[in-house]
């Protein structure tokens, strides 16, 4: 019994310490943005690596999620003679939920793990200490440019995922199953408004920040050589993905209050 309480206490202390470290990192980023040195070259490199470099994977993911969702909705709606409403369902779901979440999960896997691995390797090979010895704050040099790049990239990547998801769904349902294009298009446009798109963009922005903070924190706290870097990389991906899913739920509740369904329809 004592052992269970001790382990529970240790687990709780570890979690609190983790949250404390995240809060410390967030504060350092705040200071860095206000007072740190501006490094446009690093920002450009990160925009290319995180934004431009993620496009293909995000487009393919968004397109096929949209396609399969469209197919399933079509198959179900057909029984109620509502197949022309498939586009409306796909479009709203892609904008509000599927686009942001699947994009964030793919970016957590591709970019988050890469950030943790790169920064973690720099940590265990003393490259971060080398930066510090040159009077450069690691958050200024490694974290802030990545965060700014992600804040710009994520909403755009999500927009791409949504657009390609809706497009491939259209191809499947209209071109593949012969749903009249006019009905499909009209239902889609009538049901999708700026609020739906805004929700996707806001979620993307928040998820981008989450992924960078969690992944960079994992990298900055890597230890024990290659094994430690491997663990940090995996943790960055898993923890980011979990936080994306949990935060998405609460963000959906909040944003549905701010932008209720049909508010601008």
């Amino acid at each position: 019994m004592v052992g269970i309480i001790r382990n529970l206490g240790r687990w709780l202390i570890d979690r609190l310490a983790y949250l404390g470290q995240l809060a410390g990192l967030v504060n350092e980023i705040r200071v860095s943005m206000l007072r740190g040195k501006w490094r446009p070259r690093l920002l450009g490199e990160q925009l290319v690596a995180t934004g431009f470099g993620s496009q293909l994977v995000v487009i393919i993911t968004g397109a096929f999620v949209g396609a399969v969702f469209g197919f399933q909705i079509y198959a179900k709606f057909k029984g109620y003679a509502l197949e022309s409403a498939t586009g409306a369902m796909v479009s709203v779901a892609m904008c509000r939920e599927l686009g942001p979440v699947v994009t964030a999960l793919m970016v957590a896997g591709r970019v988050g793990s890469s950030m943790a691995a790169e920064i973690g390797t720099m940590k265990v090979t003393e490259q971060i200490d080398a930066l510090r010895s040159l009077g450069i704050h690691p958050v200024d040099y490694l974290v802030t440019p990545r965060l700014l790049a992600m804040m710009v990239s994520m909403p755009l990547l999500i927009a791409e995922a949504i657009a390609f998801g809706i497009f491939l769904s259209y191809v499947v349902v209209v071109e593949g199953f012969g749903v009249p294009v006019a009905y499909y298009r009209n239902h889609t446009l009538a049901s999708t408004n700026m609020e739906d798109v805004s929700i996707g963009m806001i979620k993307g922005f928040v998820f981008g920040i989450l992924i960078v903070i969690i992944s960079c924190h994992q990298g900055l706290h890597a230890s024990n050589g290659a094994v430690g870097v491997g663990r940090s990389t995996t943790e960055a991906m898993v923890v980011s993905a979990l936080w994306v899913l949990i935060v998405n739920f609460f963000l959906s509740l909040l944003l549905n209050i701010v932008f209720p369904y049909g508010s601008a329809a």
Partner: protein
């Protein structure tokens, strides 16, 4: 008025205490580095020499004690305020710690660019001069992964000296090098000291290196400075702990 001007030590560590992983690494370590001298710090593996060096450079903070660099207390100072202090010295890491996404030229130019030097001709001139000083001017475009251990250390040395710091801290600069490579690095260290009157602290296991470069020797044992004095006194000491180290004798328990 700076410490140098008042004749005080360039780096002065007093009563450093540090526990890592529940073990005491530094236990009241007191050490000062005089301006213009080369101090060799020796000790058995795992005695905390690198930890001591990181404390002297402000890269680690002690649990208790004080570190003054050029008269300025750095313990408890915010990381962002340490930048100007850290730029007073160059640090050579054990494995070089070169930035592996940069080639040799970019690694060596990095401190200059970060200090705001924008004249690319001047940057290149100084990079070439630093690389020539360490015999690596022919390797400008190579990536660190394609360099040998000794070459990496020489490039890291060029990066450490390019801003012409007043103090150089070396963490095992000759570890893993062949005797000729070791002699080359020793000559560079001595050369910098003689040419620029740089204050140097060298963490090493290599007794030949101590003979070649040191003005004073410190021996770290159980988290404290066990010996501090001239190399001649160090090499002729009768202290049993130092004699075992100097003679390279195995521990009694290991020998059995």
């Amino acid at each position: 008025m700076s410490a140098a001007e008042t004749g005080a030590a360039f780096i002065e560590a007093t009563g450093l205490v540090k526990r890592l992983g529940g073990q005491s690494v530094l236990d009241g370590t007191t050490l000062s580095l005089r301006r213009g001298e080369t101090l060799a710090v020796l000790g058995r593996s795992g005695e905390g020499k690198s930890v001591l060096l990181k404390h002297l450079a402000g890269l680690m903070m002690p649990d208790a004690g004080s570190v003054r660099i050029d008269g300025e207390e750095i313990v408890g100072v915010d990381e962002r305020r340490l930048g100007p202090v850290r730029r007073k010295f160059g640090l050579l890491f054990q494995n070089g710690a070169l930035f592996d996404s940069f080639n040799v030229e970019d690694n060596v130019a990095f401190p200059l660019l970060e200090q705001g030097l924008r004249d690319s001709t001047e940057v290149r001139r100084r990079v070439l001069a630093a690389l020539e000083a360490v015999g690596m001017a022919d390797h400008l475009m190579k990536m660190p992964i394609h360099l040998s251990g000794g070459q990496r250390k020489r490039v890291a040395l060029a990066r450490a000296i390019i801003t012409q710091p007043r103090c150089l801290l070396y963490d095992e600069p000759t570890a893993g090098l062949d005797p000729i490579g070791t002699a080359n690095i020793d000559r560079l260290i001595r050369g910098f000291q003689e040419r620029y009157q740089v204050t140097s602290l060298v963490i090493t296991h290599d007794l030949k290196t101590v003979e070649r470069i040191a003005d004073r020797v410190a021996f770290l044992r159980a988290g404290r400075i066990h010996f501090l004095g001239a190399p001649s006194a160090f090499f002729t000491t009768a202290d049993p702990v130092l004699r075992q180290f100097l003679d390279g004798r195995a521990d009694d328990s290991d020998a059995r």
